[in-house]
Symmetry: C2
Subunit: 772 residues, 2 copies
């Protein structure tokens, strides 16, 4: 699918219609406003291949688990982000014939996502089977100012005929989910009413009683003048429509503005649905489509001021990074602490759940650097609030005494993944949750969080590690048997270096913070001991013993860390020798073959060296990078970004650049051949990191920000801003020199290329880039 | 459930009705004749807990695969033995009230399976809610002489009333399968007709077009006299009934003989169904219930002459072994080479498929020793016929050049298991299929099979091993990564000793036989080379290299073989320290906990030492037995039998006895808490081995039979017969001495306690048992 979309700094442009890529394009051009999301489905009928999808934040369905062979501990259900009311539909019947691109000759087709302004547009000329030609233009957005509103402007011009055209805007809640384990419908209608002016459909989920209502009001214009607003209403179960027959004249543009308000009981009382919806629609109609759009644009303008990354000299790279930032901002705004960042955001059904370790490992840095610290703190609090459920989850798996195992996938704190090798064994997620506390504290300097909330979570996680290891007699060391690391192309392995290291790090970090608290605030410490029934002596002794005596697999010949024990028994061949027709491996090789091969989905030794970079020498990182990078196939969307960060630091700029394209254009170029299912939203946080931490070389040390920028050869400049402890800092990297400026906030000490810089607000510092 | 059934040498007796154990008892008391099987469901209506089940040999359903996470290589469907027409139903309506034990006071309830004669009987007194008391007796069997016929005699006596009784025999093909992945019905009706005299229902499976018809004819007797045969017929979709209202008199026994003929297109053309059914019913009615029963008994009498094992002094042990032999004989008679031995036979729906490695590893010896050699040869041919599919299966998983991986579970040669750690990794099944060729040849002396069929299979299996291993640089040995051994409580492990050893054995055995053939019959050898595109030099060199350089994990300290690499890193605690409420582990522990524990489902090192006993010293076997036995939880039905064989040989008679009870009474005492789902048919072959190879000490060496019998303390005698190369040999072991006799066939050399004995037919040899 490479080069299907045109390169453009601000837009995603699909020029010409290829039905084979329609689902991909629907994903790519999705729109959202943090509360709702909509795939770029067509408004008019389309009988070709598509994945219809409208999603509402916070609303999910506990779909009965489907497994082949039940295992003790599997959850009863899998929580899924679900398709919801189809609010975009507008049928066009032209001289008795349905407008459906499947059956038309289509020309001049353009589908375009304007990322600068958050607007989806489409235009095309279609020749119907009867010979009528029409020219269509559409615009669609979810309002960023009125978060329950979605607006559509759809116009159609009869090019070569005059005749009868019936316009039928509708709302349809009788919808299906592709990802339904037993083909069940998740929604059942709770009412609908079609009136001349406004109509609504309402439904609730068959479990959990989520309820939502969509209400529409439409205006039709002919040649620019409003012609009428009294449609013929009709309804059936979970469906309403307005129908208007028009005597259309050749050359005269017909257009319809469809204003839709969608509300749910996640935000409103069901009893208030009607009033809220009408109030909002009143406002929207009063302002009209264009004014509403203008207000929406202004919000995006503000967002880009904080979040934009400019890359000069390389349009594909520029488009890639903006695409990532745009979708992250569409998905999670940080305003609602109950929400989190689902791996597909609001762009598809796959994966379900809303929260994976992705949030802590790949998304937190973006929000730390581009939003108020309360956004990141909310992400941490989300896990704190789920601590009880994580302890329950560990108990189910045989752990005791307040040990916590956070879920692999969750909506409400309960585990809902069901594949033993991941659900029960991919326990490194616990470490990422602990690491996020460290990362947050290091970046923000906010020590309050760890005292009030963090330590409780850390103690429970340490208790898990302490029970999960066992002492090996032959090794005279603690070992961790039967785990799956971040590299999911190995299952049920022993002594995964990453997991062992991260567990020991957790224990160390917790021990340090407990000591600090005991010294700094004994009463808080005592309270914590009581609240967590902490047996200080016994537990800390055991933890220290593990810290001191953990086994780490290494290869002394190459002086590298081994992904797991026995890794060197494999046949090692660089991934670039794999025939192209066998990639991606996970779509071509049976699972056992993948498992026993050396190929790595995402390199977890390198993940560990990224997390804990400050504990290793650059040479150590380089030796491991050189060993693992060539056998990594990057079939996890979360893989390339970490490699970019290492590669840039190690001056492997070509590889860094290649992998930057892979992470930033993962979906745009469909590297993993699955974009039709939806976008990889969480990995977009990783893309952001690959620029700021990778090419920008940003690190925090001792409460101060360091930059070591390096440009790939293709770029003439790269400019980004980060928020750090109340200051908005702009970094502009050019081929020969780098500029740095505090554009908002007070004086601060920064480090550029290892050089200390004390900067006043709005004062620019600039220095030549060092040779590599 | 221990002691729920009464101990009896020939019968399974359930005295008193406990609805909690009804499903278990339905399994235990199942009847079958190799062509059909029926759980011991009630004939009259029963609204309590039950698992209705009637099964037809060879008829299965490819149920769409249900998995949580699809993996490349998974089969599209899982082939299932399916519930079929309910042919046993007879409703009784007494003064307008349905006879249903759920709603009655039940007394004197006895359900009894007469294993000597293959007859299921039931009797009870029931008091209906209206106060009517009735005394009921039923008899039921599947004819062993007329294999499409099932017969029921149901009699009822009104004890305390005279009144209206309606008798409604019916056939119902509108049935469900509990084990349906998507709640689908597998059958759809293709016709029914209810006539005064005979009625039928017919249906076919929704996929594969299996079709079956059940036809019934009934006779009703009052006080012994036939009262009428003209019922009121009625029918609806997939259902027919005869209804007869009788003025019943107190004390006068009403009885009905229901003759049912069930035919399928597995055996007959659909066009012949009607004629075949009527012919058979004519015969059955002409002979009548009692005569039909007599002829049936005679077949069982003959079977027991060949198959019986007598254990004296221990009724529980006696009952156990007969229970196993009885069900094996009900399940597979060896007459039809298309059939095989499903793990649940005809007693439940679970597991599906008909063929596992169980057949080769646990069932073949029973048929070798108790039936004509063509039965065992048919079992081997079954795999030969599936060779093409096994090659296809390996190809799907990335193997090339004629390598074969036989399926884990199959109905027609195609894999239908879908759990990666088993389907793709439990590759030791290939070795069992090769071993069966060796076992058959060693036992029968029939060298013809290996030349005509065996070598083709062996070459394909060797090609698989040669590709499945890889050369480890650090070890400078061949390794086999990512397998699951027979101990399924370890998944995706490296260098499983059993699999590595069995693979090397396969290569050796094949190389030897190829050399032999090349020498003995060069033209046959050349044909084989052409047929299999065998690259003699290249392939045999590679195989020899693997044979010489395979890695085997061992523990030099204890001088034992290690189940897999790294096994000693586990925490090792004997299984008898496990709290009872955590057993069986697989119903109480999450999978990861089982995997990282030391506990063994079935000890695969010991399985290897059983298969290849002739290649190891007794001391080696003992050291390994002493290490692995205490950590084996025997949660595979296939586990204890092998341990009995070792334990008896090693003079650990108490453990041998305990484990003999566990294997022989596995279902009767429900050790694994799952007998309600059906019986463990294939493990019954293992039970037979545990007596004949365990306590009987039978082995074959150099074409001659050796016995080293040992009695457990509880037994006063153990007598069994084996067929060996045309001779029927009877072995009778008493406390002090052992007798041996050829009761059919010519003179032969046998070995008893290491002593050579040349026996004439009908001459008895007897010797004192040696001290232990």
């Amino acid at each position: 699918m490479k080069n299907y979309f045109e390169n453009d700094p601000w837009k995603i442009i699909e020029r010409g219609f290829d039905p084979r890529f329609n689902k991909a394009s629907e994903s790519i051009c999705s729109i959202g406003n943090g509360r709702m999301g909509q795939r770029a489905n067509f408004e008019e009928s389309y009988s070709g291949e598509k994945l219809q999808g409208s999603y509402l934040a916070g609303i999910y369905y506990p779909d009965k688990t489907r497994v082949g062979w039940w295992k003790v501990g599997y959850p009863e259900y899998f929580a899924k982000v679900i398709n919801s009311v189809n609010w975009i539909g507008i049928r066009w019947v032209i001289n008795g014939e349905e407008l459906d691109l499947k059956n038309c000759d289509v020309s001049d087709f353009v589908r375009e996502l304007d990322m600068k302004r958050g607007l989806l547009t489409r235009s095309f000329t279609a020749k119907l089977p009867g010979g009528e030609e029409v020219k269509v233009r559409t615009r669609r957005f979810y309002s960023m100012t009125h978060k329950d509103l979605g607006l559509i402007d759809y116009s159609l011009e009869p090019l070569n005929f005059s005749g009868k055209i019936t316009i039928i805007p509708y709302l349809d809640f009788d919808i299906y989910n592709e990802d339904s384990n037993y083909g069940e419908q998740f929604w059942e209608g709770t009412g609908q009413r079609a009136d001349i002016d406004r109509s609504f459909v309402q439904a609730k989920t068959k479990k959990l009683d989520f309820e939502a209502r969509a209400t529409m009001a439409c205006r039709v214009f002919a040649g620019g003048d409003k012609i009428m607003e009294s449609f013929s209403p009709a309804d059936k179960e979970s469906y309403v429509e307005h129908s208007l027959e028009v005597d259309a004249k050749q050359g005269q543009v017909l257009s319809i503005h469809k204003h839709v308000c969608i509300v749910s009981n996640y935000y409103y009382d069901t009893g208030d649905f009607e009033k809220v919806s009408h109030d909002q629609l009143d406002k929207s109609l009063e302002l009209g489509f264009e004014k509403m759009l203008e207000k929406h644009f202004m919000v995006w303008e503000e967002k880009w001021k904080k979040h934009d990354i400019v890359i000069e000299g390389d349009v594909a790279a520029q488009q890639g990074i903006r695409f990532n930032i745009f979708h992250l901002n569409q998905t999670y705004t940080g305003e609602d602490p109950r929400l989190n960042i689902g791996p597909k955001g609001f762009t598809g059904e796959k994966y379900g759940g809303s929260t994976y370790w992705d949030t802590e490992a790949y998304c937190l840095p973006f929000y730390l650097s581009s939003a108020d610290k309360k956004v990141a703190r909310n992400l941490l609090k989300y896990r704190f609030n789920h601590l009880g459920k994580a302890i329950e989850n560990a108990k189910k798996l045989g752990f005791s005494a307040g040990a916590a195992l956070y879920p692999m996938v969750t909506m409400n704190g309960e585990e809902c993944h069901n594949e033993w090798e991941i659900t029960f064994e991919e326990i490194h997620r616990n470490a990422a949750i602990a690491y996020a506390i460290f990362d947050y504290t290091r970046y923000t300097g906010d020590e309050d969080y760890i005292v009030k909330y963090g330590l409780e979570v850390l103690i429970a996680i340490c208790r898990f590690w302490a029970q999960r290891v066992n002492f090996s007699k032959p090794k005279q060391k603690y070992v961790m048997l039967g785990v799956t690391g971040p590299n999911e192309y190995e299952n049920n392995i022993n002594n995964n270096w990453y997991t062992n290291y991260a567990a020991v790090w957790c224990l160390r970090y917790t021990l340090e913070n407990l000591e600090k608290l005991k010294k700094d605030d004994h009463s808080a410490f005592s309270k914590l001991v009581i609240k967590t029934s902490f047996d200080e002596k016994k537990e800390t002794e055991k933890w220290r013993d593990i810290v001191e005596n953990m086994f780490f697999p290494t290869d002394s010949e190459r002086d590298i860390f081994l992904q797991q024990e026995g890794f060197l028994d494999k046949e090692i061949k660089p991934a670039d020798q794999l025939p192209a027709d066998q990639l991606p491996l996970n779509q071509n090789w049976s699972w056992d073959r993948i498992l026993r091969s050396c190929y790595i989905k995402q390199a977890d030794v390198l993940q560990g060296l990224y997390f804990f970079e400050h504990e290793f020498s650059k040479e150590e990182v380089e030796r491991n990078f050189d060993y693992y990078e060539p056998i990594t196939v990057h079939e996890s969307s979360l893989s390339p970004c970490v490699h970019v960060i290492h590669a840039a630091r190690l001056n492997k700029m070509n590889r860094a650049y290649e992998l930057y394209l892979r992470t930033s254009r993962l979906d745009l170029d469909d590297y993993n051949k699955e974009v039709d299912e939806g976008l990889h939203i969480t990995s977009m946080g990783g893309t952001w990191m690959s620029v700021v931490k990778g090419f920008g070389g940003m690190r925090v040390a001792d409460g101060e920000l360091h930059f070591n920028p390096k440009l790939p050869d293709h770029w003439t400049a790269c400019k980004f801003t980060v928020l750090f402890r109340g200051r908005l800092i702009r970094v502009s990297v050019f081929r020969q020199h780098t500029e740095i400026m505090i554009i908002d906030g007070s004086t601060a000490t920064l480090w550029l290329f290892g050089q200390k810089v004390v900067l006043e607000p709005n004062q620019q510092f600039e220095t030549n880039n060092p040779g590599r």
